[in-house]
Amino acid sequence: MDDIGGHDILGNPVSARAPMAMLAELTHRCPLACPYCSNPVELTRVNSELSAAEWADVFQQAAAMGVLQVHLSGGEPASRRDLAEIAASARDAGLYVNLITSGIGLTQARLRDLDAAGVEHIQLSLQGIDAEMADWIGGYTGSFARKMQVAEWIGEIGFPLTLNAVVHRQNLDRLPEMIDLAERLGCRRIEVATVQFHGWADLNRRPLMPTLEQAAEARKVVNEARLRLRGRMVIDYVPADHHATFPKSCMGGWASTGINIAPDGTVLPCHAAQTIQSLEFDNIRARSLAEIWYNGRAFNAFRGTAWLPEPCASCDRREIDYGGCRCQAMALAGDPTATDPVCSRSPLNPVLKAQAQQDAVSEDVALVYRRMPKETRA
């Protein structure tokens, strides 16, 4: 395929390959209020959401460009009544259709509709191992019981299921029980992802930051469980990067493999990219997806490695982690071109590590919940 390209933030020529995956954020509406929600702090209102017909067109464009998989997400995608129609249009486009849900809002009948629509895999979020923890974190009484009911229906229909456990200081000690639960539910996979401290989670660093001891114990638990469950259940683990030596290769490199579409059609290289306010993002209502992917200035801004500053520019890991996460650099260093401060080679790393350790011993358990601004009725 042709490599088409533009210029990075410093004017160096860059090129891009075809994208592999799309995260389709169908809505920011959600019955839950998790204090680490990955949606932006400025949430999109319902009246600017893309219609099902617009999504169908996005999926056709995506498949024609080489996207293989779409992840239907949100907010809570089930908050859209036309979810099955949207899923069917993604499958019609030839995409592998994955649904990422809290389960709240799904009924047995809706799950059957999603089955008929061609949904191929479901990822069910897990906030805690019991109602006390899960309902507190999700800010929704009864959510855990409902979720367990939904998991049972998912199993009856036969959808392959992954449990998405988001872990932090308040629930990390119960990781072994989360893995047991996933096994009991017949999951093929469990994803154990430590909270990423951006956006809403950044407002909750004190109650949520794991301790060093917890992070080390979690690694041990994961390693033991992987051995024990080999061939029965896969465990994907995203460790706490504030305690790591090197940053994660965020998104496998900026705008290298995935496209994120926000509910209003804004096209982003990752779900948090709008925190970089110096970038301007195109909307699918105004330009084609291919034009945005290959020529959009925000997509080209941090492609490749030529724009990297020191210490990244001469680092032997620059093709491994591409300087880490741009949004984290923005949040922690105030500069989207900076070395991700979670890297031990960043000059800001000692301050960050000290702050993380201080956050981790905080006795603060007051959560700032994610809330939508009240809709004003016209």
Binding site: M20, L68, Q69, Y96, E120, Q123, F159, P160, R189, V234
Partner: protein, 102 residues
């Protein structure tokens, strides 16, 4: 790595949520699975394309050995290694040959 020890009479199959796909944009065959897309070489594609949920591993080895005029022992070892990797990742499931007929 432990030596693959799949018996000849097991029946490997692609479970729900795992499927082969023609990637026309890149001109390759891929295996699509939850959160994963694996590009397949012609050998991997040939093996997975034969999984019909009915024939045993022994049948499949004989079939591919004949088709590619390769020693069955070598084909069997390659297939067991390839399939074991995918079984560990929950992308290929096994059933006992006696349990077929569903």
């Amino acid at each position: 790595m432990t030596a693959p020890s799949l018996p000849d009479d097991c029946v490997p199959y692609l479970p729900r949520g795992v499927r082969l796909h023609d990637d026309k944009v890149r001109g390759i065959r891929v295996l699509l699975a939850p959160e994963r897309a694996i590009s397949l070489d012609p050998v991997g594609d040939a093996i997975l394309s034969e999984l019909d949920g009915a024939r045993t591993l022994g049948d499949l080895i004989a079939e591919l050995a004949a088709r590619y005029q390769a020693p069955a022992e070598q084909v069997g070892q390659d297939m067991r290694e390839f399939l074991t990797g995918l079984i560990d990742r929950r992308m290929v499931f096994l059933r006992e040959s006696g349990a077929r007929g569903a």
